[in-house]
């Protein structure tokens, strides 16, 4: 036991003392902060909204098209040609021309948009919606001889509150957008760390083989101790890195808030927009909430519906379980080869389920209680990633327990198997073994 501690210590310290670890620890949170802050900053600082000149040949749309954050309509009464000339000149007032021809009611596909800066898809749909709404209104007015106000009063504004009925019969308001974000983020972190640190385990083993220190080591310790020491040591490096990132990110966030706090509050709305663009389904709901008033209060109310201790607990379990499962496999690949270029062939069976997991995670996010979601979160090779997507939405307890038990059993199995491959592989030099030979290693005694 004392020896395995020594190995863990060495694996941990040599990696933590490296310059690259320090750099990653600092750059990581900056990158995260960047990913979070920059789009908000861009959205608030850089005005990429469209200032659209409307050339309305029908006259029925004047002052009727509704502006939003992205599109502002301006009405000019001049020919399309004049407007185009101005758009081409340097001192233009508008960013685009929306040309509505006189035949629009009978030929609705004749509307044209001329632009200098390509408008976002959502801006174009907004224009489309607004024109259609007005034509519809006009037709209704003509058909039933109603006033404009009467017609626009016909259209109700609908909002759907999505609820999950819990077993106790209580109605729980679910916040899909936040659950999705949280689930996908934790799944991605697990995926990334299994990959990065799994490969580190493999490299560590190859290093010991190519350095030829391995035989010196295993005359002092058991190969299994050496392998586990390496896997655990590197796991601690990974956890340290995450902890550092969390602390530093929080520090940067706090720092930014202290300096730009007021500005940020003003930009809160932009944050919501950011969320909307990530997740269009939530648009209406959120748009309403932002119109409705206190955004922050609403957000925190939504957050409170997620069971954070459970999510955190699951994250830690699946992180460690997934890492141990794949870490031992990576170690056995390292043991089977002499150098990194030979690893390709053996990496495939390991990386394919991992990549499959992260691909399925995107699908599962949309349908967290589906059949794919169920099986992918039960099968241990994808469960660490896929289950984490589902957990924030709330998963039946028995499913989580089944998935965890299977994961634990599988990593005990793979560790045992990897130990056997490792023990023989580390002493083999020269010819790259075939899968068949590796199979034999698993069943032979030393």
């Amino acid at each position: 036991m004392n020896k395995i501690n020594l190995i863990i210590q060495r694996e941990y310290l040599t990696r933590v003392k490296k310059k690259s670890f320090l750099i990653m620890s600092i750059v990581g949170p900056l990158l995260f902060a960047g990913i979070m802050v920059v789009p908000i900053w861009l959205a608030s600082e850089d005005d990429d909204s469209q200032n659209v000149e409307v050339i309305d040949e029908t006259g029925m749309f004047v002052n009727k098209l509704e502006n939003n954050e992205e599109v502002r309509f301006n009405y000019e009464f001049r020919s399309l040609k004049e407007a185009q000339e101005e758009l081409n000149s340097k001192d233009r007032k508008y960013t685009a021309i929306l040309h509505i021809p006189s035949v629009v009611v009978t030929h609705p596909k004749t509307v044209q948009l001329f632009y200098k800066d390509k408008p976002q898809g959502s801006s174009v749909s907004h224009m489309k919606r607004e024109i259609a709404k007005n034509i519809e209104d006009k037709k209704l007015q003509d058909l039933y001889n109603l006033s404009y106000d009467q017609v626009s009063g016909l259209r109700p504004s609908i909002g759907i509150v999505v609820n999950k009925l819990t077993e106790s019969g209580e109605v729980e308001e679910k916040s899909d957008d936040i659950a999705m974000g949280l689930g996908l983020a934790s799944a991605f972190v697990i995926y990334m760390f299994i990959f990065i640190f799994g490969v580190q385990v493999m490299r560590g083993v190859i290093e010991e083989k190519t350095n030829r220190i391995i035989e010196v080591l295993i005359s002092s310790v058991k190969p299994f101790e050496l392998m586990m020491g390496k896997i655990v040591g590197i796991a601690l490096v990974a956890l340290t890195q995450i902890a550092l990132w969390v602390v530093l990110s929080a520090g940067i966030y706090a720092g930014v808030m202290a300096v730009f706090g007021d500005e940020m509050a003003a930009n809160q709305k932009a944050t919501i927009e950011q969320l909307e663009s990530v997740n269009p389904e939530a648009t209406n709901e959120l748009a309403e909430s932002s119109a409705g008033g206190d955004v922050v209060a609403k957000l925190s109310a939504k957050m409170s519906t997620i069971n954070f201790p459970v999510v955190l607990g699951c994250f830690i379990f699946y992180f460690i379980g997934g890492y141990l499962l794949y870490g031992s496999l990576f170690a056995s690949v390292g043991a089977a080869v002499d150098n990194e270029t030979d690893t390709q062939q053996f990496m495939a069976p390991i990386t394919i389920p991992l990549i499959l997991g992260i691909v399925m995670a995107q699908v599962v996010m949309q349908n967290p209680d589906g059949t794919l979601a169920f099986w992918a979160s039960i099968i241990p090779f994808t469960s660490p990633i896929v289950m984490m997507v589902r957990v924030p939405f709330g998963v039946e307890t028995w499913e989580v327990i089944l998935s965890m038990v299977l994961l634990a059993a599988t990593f005990v199995g793979t560790t045992f198997m990897a130990g056997k491959i490792y023990r023989i592989g580390i002493l083999m030099y020269g010819k790259k073994p075939s899968f068949k030979e590796i199979g034999k290693w698993i069943i032979t005694k030393t």
């Binding site: 040599t14 030829r212 220190i213 035989e215 010196v216 080591l217 295993i218 005359s219 002092s220 030099y429």
Partner: protein, 314 residues
């Protein structure tokens, strides 16, 4: 003299290849035991079994009278043929790590290391990275790490490879010093010169079998063929005539007017008989028995064995 290590009837099978076939060796305490054999004979397999890196399929190993167990790891020092160090790690830190893996306490390791570093005159390297060292320098560090925990049994696999003559001498002297202090040493090597110089006992392994063992003196004695080197001045023909039919002249050569001839004596003829026969004919300066070198014995034994094996295979 009791034995530090006794391996009884060891069999080790790797898939289709039998690496060790009923091999027994006994290493007496306080001696240097040469484990010889051509490449692929099974030496490394045997050494790995002694180090408990692998386990025998059949047979048993006793260490200092008791069955070999994981507790003995700290009492064995092993310098493998394929050896190396972590390149990116500092020399001192690495030596401390390896010493602690052998079960030494931090303080003990530190003390012993600084003593050894002084003895080998390498104290300034403590904070250097291994990749900055030359091969010979790294070998010195490796040797220190092997002997640091004062093992009762030291196993050295080709210990002199990578050393220049000066460092070879330093290491050789250390080996002798360790022997004086009571350490038993197994030395596996192809370098027959060093076997002759260093080893007390040898065992020769070929084709997974032990084909020869004993003290170096005894083995040489066993392989004597009754060949003598006679140095004289005089007529070569009368010398040959004097030898008569019972003795075979193998070779002769002349240097500075003195002829030296290799003569194989018939079994019933003593050196005195031969002297009597030739002393009247030529002026004798010396008569010396030709003792076979370990190199000769090795080549002869391994060669004969391979031929026999090939014959058996056919």
């Amino acid at each position: 003299m009791s034995s530090i290590l006794k391996a009884d009837n060891i069999v080790k099978q790797y898939a289709a290849h039998r690496a060790l076939d009923d091999v027994s060796i006994e290493v007496p305490k306080g001696c240097i035991y040469g484990l010889l054999g051509p490449n692929g004979a099974g030496k490394t397999s045997l050494i790995r079994i002694i180090n408990q890196i692998t386990h025998p399929d059949e047979g048993q190993v006793f260490f200092d009278g008791v069955p070999l167990s994981p507790n003995h790891v700290g009492q064995i020092g092993y310098l493998p043929e394929e050896r190396g160090l972590y390149k990116k790690m500092e020399v001192g830190e690495q030596a401390m790590y390896l010493a602690q893996l052998k079960g030494m306490s931090k303080r003990e390791a530190k003390e012993k290391l600084s003593m050894w570093f002084k003895r080998f005159d390498i104290s300034p390297w403590w904070n250097k990275k291994v990749e900055e060292l030359s091969k010979g320098m790294a070998q010195k560090v490796q040797f220190i790490v092997t002997v640091l925990h004062e093992p009762k049994l030291l196993i050295l696999d080709e210990p002199f490879s990578g050393f220049d003559p000066i460092n070879t001498n330093i290491v050789k002297n250390e080996i002798f010093r360790l022997k004086e202090e009571g350490t038993s040493i197994i030395l596996s090597t192809h370098n027959m010169g060093s076997v002759e110089e260093i080893c007390d006992h040898i065992a020769l392994i070929n084709n997974s079998k032990k084909i020869l063992d004993g003290t170096v003196k005894q083995v040489k004695e066993d392989f004597k063929e009754g060949i003598y080197n006679i140095e004289f001045k005089g007529n070569m023909i009368s010398f040959t005539n004097a030898l008569g039919a019972a003795c075979e002249l193998l070779s002769s050569g002349e240097l500075d007017g003195r002829i030296s001839a290799k003569v194989k004596l018939a079994p019933n003829i003593s050196t005195n008989d031969i002297l009597k026969a030739i002393v009247g004919e030529v002026e004798v300066f010396g008569l010396q028995e030709v003792i076979p070198s370990m190199n000769d014995i090795f080549i002869k034994q391994v060669g004969a064995n391979s031929i026999k094996k090939e014959a058996n295979d056919e």
